[in-house]
């Protein structure tokens, strides 16, 4: 009977269309935004590794080699990479313009074991050990530049890679600091400047990183930053755990080891610098960036929860109208002994069918749309210059369109629940109707 109601009442098509449209919109938007957030997290994870023992201070911290030796001896560590991080002025040799950038000194092989550094390269992807050897002259000291600093993307977000790295010299100037935080070259030239030769680009998929980082050989970065003294310093140790180690457990173990290490180093000359060091998971380390994206996702989820509320209201109105039109039917059914529960069941089943069919159509059309979303966006851009996501902000090539089954499940269950919720009150009202109220024709 619910089927008959569904097929025969034109108004039920409206409810069905409203549900299908809502499901379609939510599936498309949630798939894209979930994909963006997921990709963003994955890229952050790849860029950082699992855990970071590091300091925000540009002075860095000493005794890192001792700590690395200690944790390399444990059974839960897959790889460790010491990193020097600082700020620098970077200028192309024949240019007058200096740009403020962040430098990151890494040992490419070790760093690639811990992070996705090797995968982000273009020319040296398959030969990470030569990352800092320019192909045009391997004897020169090379540097890897964030891709957005070196290549221009077209409007569709694609890079035009060069077949062979362009010969270019970059002058990198840093302010070296002593272990006490003073300028190491006070009274002299203040800055350390060294020339590096462009060897490759790094495409991490993180817009800010790809536009502001230049990667240098570890020792060279240490020298530039004044960290290569008798007691060498770094800014961070990036760590990757073995695959079976849970992130939280691994970070806790590292934190415990670090705590013990700091205790042991008490009394050493530069031990105070160790107090600025924290142990963080990659999520906490990149919290400032991830949180913004997650907030965007949360806001969208709330917005679409409001769409869900609208669906409930539409279904409510439709059912209210159906019940108003069908009050005579309710009277007839009650006159032949149908119970209140059966009446609620009848309309609930009707609502369930509307929800189910609406979901099926909404999901199917949404899935089709997602399959073609990148082509649709290209078409819109070519003809109208309209782009859904500014590639300079989102650092994406294609719009993510892989439907997350878990998200899909939540959408379907929510849509059906919304239909049942919208139908409940009218159904309950219908169930309460007295047969004589609805069948009356000359009641007296």
């Amino acid at each position: 009977m619910s089927f008959r109601y569904l097929l025969k009442r034109r108004i039920s098509y409206l409810a069905f269309l409203a549900v299908a449209l809502c499901v379609f919109i939510v599936v498309v938007v949630m798939t894209v935004i979930t994909g963006l957030v997921r990709d963003f997290k994955v890229n952050n994870h790849k860029w950082v590794g699992d855990c970071v023992v590091g300091t925000e201070s540009l002075v860095g911290f000493p005794y890192y080699e001792d700590f690395i030796k200690r944790i390399e001896g444990t059974d839960f560590i897959e790889g460790v990479s010491a990193v020097v991080k600082s700020y620098a002025l970077v200028r192309e040799r024949n240019s007058e313009e200096s740009i403020g950038m962040e430098i990151m000194g890494v040992e490419p092989v070790k760093h690639s074991k811990v992070t996705g550094f090797g995968e982000t390269l273009y020319h040296r992807k398959n030969d990470v050990s030569s990352a800092f050897e320019p192909a045009y002259d391997p004897n020169l000291v090379g540097c890897v530049v964030g891709i957005d600093r070196w290549l221009v993307r077209d409007a569709k977000g694609r890079y035009t890679y060069e077949a062979y790295p362009t010969e270019a010299a970059l002058l990198v100037s840093c302010f070296p600091l002593t272990s006490k935080g003073a300028l190491a070259k006070a009274g002299a030239g203040l800055v350390n400047t060294k020339t590096f030769y462009y060897s490759d680009t790094s495409h991490s998929g993180l817009a800010r990183v790809d536009s502001s980082f230049v990667y240098l050989p570890f020792e060279q970065a240490q020298l530039l930053c004044g960290m290569a003294g008798p007691v060498k310093r770094v800014n961070a140790i990036h760590i990757k755990f073995k695959p079976n180690v849970r992130l939280k457990d691994g970070c806790e173990e590292v934190a415990a080891l670090w705590k013990r290490f700091v205790e042991e180093k008490k009394g050493e000359k530069q031990a105070a610098l160790l107090d600025t060091v924290t142990v963080q998971s990659w999520k906490d380390y990149r919290r400032a960036f991830i949180a913004a994206m997650e907030k965007e996702q949360t806001m969208l989820t709330i917005m679409f929860a409001l769409v869900g509320v609208t669906t409930v209201f539409i279904v409510f109105v439709v059912f209210y109208m159906i019940v108003s039109h069908k009050s005579k039917d309710v009277g007839i059914l009650k006159s032949i002994g149908v119970s209140k529960v059966d009446i609620i069941e009848l309309f609930s089943c009707f609502a369930f069918l509307i929800g189910l069919l609406g979901c099926a159509v909404g999901v199917f059309v949404g899935w089709l749309f997602l399959l073609k979303i990148n082509e649709v966006e290209d078409l819109l851009f070519e003809h109208f210059g309209f782009q859904l996501w500014d590639r300079t902000m989102y650092a994406i090539g294609d719009i993510p369109n892989a439907v997350d089954l878990q998200v899909l499940g939540v959408i379907i269950v929510s849509a059906i629940a919304a239909c049942l919720a919208g139908a409940f009150f009218p159904s309950w009202q219908a169930a309460k109707l007295e047969p004589v109220e609805t069948l009356q024709v000359s009641q007296l």
């Binding site: 006159s335 032949i336 002994g337």
Partner: protein, 237 residues
């Protein structure tokens, strides 16, 4: 006559309705007893309370005061589910305006009471029987060819016969008909009355409400409702 001879008995029924500020007393102490296999016609002018009385007898409405006993049991003591079962199994209603469900076919309208009394599982088990019984009834009512039609494709007389078929689906002890010919022309109405007479001859107890004395003459007994009371009792056909 022992009290067991009565299938349905109403004692001192009162019912009133509020119409704006005024309270209108419709039934003012109605007593009525219906014997098994009887064909009783309740007559009265429009607004005399005939339909209200019929609704109360069939548990579609409750009296303000008074008792309705069905096979000796007070209906007011029935729980809601017992009343549903009573309406489903014990009585069959025939309304003046047929009250068929437009979304269902003629056949489905007829077997609807059988469907209503079963759960999904129960219905799966008995639907073959229900379909067969509904077809049988339609055949008896001369509507075999109309089984797959929708109610709106039928004439008034045919619709009323479908309504009678539906009322008889669960073999009720008593058939309550509210102006069954009130919406039909004379010859079609006579056809419906013939059906009711035939059913009564086959043993079906019938209580029919009508405002038309001529139609009431077809019943075995006529009771007149006036001023909210049974005024006179007379013998019909």
């Amino acid at each position: 006559m022992s009290k067991d001879d009565f299938i349905l008995k109403a004692e001192g029924l009162y019912k009133s309705y509020r119409m704006g500020e005024a309270e209108v007393s419709v039934l003012r102490g109605v007593d009525l007893a219906v014997k098994k296999n009887e064909f009783v016609a309740i007559v009265g002018v429009s607004g005399s309370g005939k339909s209200t009385l019929l609704h109360i007898l069939g548990a579609l409405d409750r009296p303000d005061k008074g008792i309705v006993r069905f096979q000796g049991r007070d209906l007011s003591r029935h729980s809601e589910s017992e009343l549903n079962r009573f309406r489903n199994k014990m009585v069959g209603f025939v309304f003046q305006f047929y009250h068929l469900l437009d979304e269902l076919s003629v056949l489905e309208n007829v077997f609807l009471p059988a469907m209503a009394s079963k759960g999904v599982i129960g219905w799966l088990g008995s639907r073959r029987w229900a379909r067969s019984r509904a077809r049988e009834l339609l055949s008896e009512l001369g509507l075999s060819e109309r089984a797959d039609h929708k109610p709106y494709q039928l004439s008034g007389g045919e619709r009323q016969r479908v309504a009678i078929g539906r009322a008889l689906m669960n073999e009720p002890r008593i058939l309550l008909a509210d102006e069954p010919t009130g919406n039909l022309d004379s010859s079609t109405g006579n056809g419906i009355l013939s059906v009711l007479e035939r059913l009564n001859r086959a043993g079906q107890t019938i209580v029919m409400v009508t405002h038309d004395e001529r139609i009431a003459q077809k019943a075995g007994r006529i009771v007149t409702l006036a001023d909210g009371k049974i005024e006179q009792k007379s013998t019909g056909a």
